[in-house]
Assembly symmetry: C2
Amino acid sequence: MVKMKDVAELAGVSSAAVSRYLNGGYISADKAERIKQAIELTGYVRSSQARALRTGSTKLIGVIVPKINSESVSRITAGIGQVLGRRGYQMLLANTDNAPDRELEYLDLFQNHPVDGIVLVATMITDEHRRAIESCRVPIVLIGQNVEGAACVYHDDYEAAFELGHALAGRVDGKIAYIGVTEEDRAAGYDRRRGFEAGLRAAGNPLDAALIRLGSFTLDSGYGAARELLSVDPDVSFIACATDTMAAGALRAIDEVRGMGEGIHRVSGFGDNAFLRALTGGIPTVHYGYLTSGVEATNMLLNTLDGVEGERGLKTLKLGHQLMNV
Amino acid sequence: MVKMKDVAELAGVSSAAVSRYLNGGYISADKAERIKQAIELTGYVRSSQARALRTGSTKLIGVIVPKINSESVSRITAGIGQVLGRRGYQMLLANTDNAPDRELEYLDLFQNHPVDGIVLVATMITDEHRRAIESCRVPIVLIGQNVEGAACVYHDDYEAAFELGHALAGRVDGKIAYIGVTEEDRAAGYDRRRGFEAGLRAAGNPLDAALIRLGSFTLDSGYGAARELLSVDPDVSFIACATDTMAAGALRAIDEVRGMGEGIHRVSGFGDNAFLRALTGGIPTVHYGYLTSGVEATNMLLNTLDGVEGERGLKTLKLGHQLMNV
DNA sequence: TATCATTGTGTAAGCGATTTCAATGACAGG
DNA sequence: CCTGTCATTGAAATCGCTTACACAATGATA
């Protein structure tokens, strides 16, 4: 492995000069040229490990996600990766597999370990999370939840759910049911349900509390909850879900119970999943710019790290949404 | 930041002793105890950067994927992450966004940079790729393609496609069309088409070369190709696709042209996508253990890195498949 | 009792960069 | 000619850890 000293010797300068050449310090034109040639000749590339030790910066960003194999998260991740790559950083990916304590674990690991900053795609934010985030030694940006005192990029789930509920209330005749997710996930659990309820109520068609079920983000859980709803009350004619994935499950349940094709106009979701859109012609849902949220969050983070002018540093950013098929 | 020397002083030993304690070298029981307490007291964690510089190992594995937001890849990635986490490594994720030259770029970056090994979720393998892989300084495992001379974990796409074609040939009356992907992707492009053709032929129902189109892995491309096929020859009654995602697009096209619900039994795919399964009741497709391939590949890689006994090191592993809904 | 393996310990030499520091020479102004 | 800037330069000191080496004990063996 050729090191800086080798380059320096070949170019007839000190290694300090090479370092300065590489980092843009004082260097005369002719030495710069000699160094440049020596580097090309030897194929030298500098050891990021030595550099990291000396400078304390690794150009690594830790990204913590709840589950990599979900459409929303993988889109966000794509956005994060885009920006990271463009700006000379790399992504250290930690998949917690929906275990909130592993989130804390990684938060810890990343701090003492080698990242310059953290992007946390958040689901549940407990007090422990809050504490961990606050005491984090490196800058951190949250995606998906709005947490007081932390830098966040999020969507207004309450508002979106309200609009969806309001729009749906008029169009549906018969009973509406709701399949939500744990309220520990404030955005997808609490805000969506509350917003949806409020939207229905505002339109004069309130949600029957007996027709609310809890899923666990998975397609199968949506299926199970929907089967149960349909058997409990055969009059249920529309099932709103907290995620498109669960809506797909509900759709399947309705199709099974009522016959193929019946379900299509009888469910709604959140997320505007591409498969669902193509295969059903479009159920009512909310489109979020997932990729954008990854991009924005990462730009925000890197701006503070790189000390970009005109940036007030980490802040909170609310992104827009769009109702689909209503 | 508390460093090893601080711990050593507090415990009244040399920093070498602390290092040995941490790495399992000779250390007496009482000193071990004192060191342990000193570490707890100070909250010391060792600098992975200094360690990396000294030992040359970073405990980082580079993972190169063509596109993170696709079901198959994100499942593979989940599998990789599982094993990595369990065995004390971390994942450096590089998303090439389907640009094969960025693959080479990352291969390069990772070598000179800080990874101990590489997992490449491969699509197109050009000669340049082959060269890059061969001259790679760190161990590397490929997923998804069988490349001579490289360690691979892959599925037998030819065989699977053959079986699918053979099984389908009998059940379909009318013309069969095929939407493939670029043959530069040997597994998904070449092998699947060839296998499918061979399967049909073996069953006495060969594929009409005029009814072959090329998609680009996306749902929209499947849709476009299918629309074209249907307009070129209205007698086409079944469209086989090289991926479930394109099959979803084809399904949509058929539904548009022939009316909703018509398409369901008129397409096939590869990958056994969960949404497709739920929303259609199941098209003929091939189930691959994507997560498993991530797991197996990573175990293979780490076994050689950690010098596990009884392991012959990097090798080639062919995983099984399963025909669905035929 | 002499000899030797076995453990346990500290000293010090790196790993390969960055960066402080003092030194140098050139050059403008007085 | 002297002095103050200013651009350039290399020597050397880190960054925090691992590990080769030398040296002590200690107990076992001959």
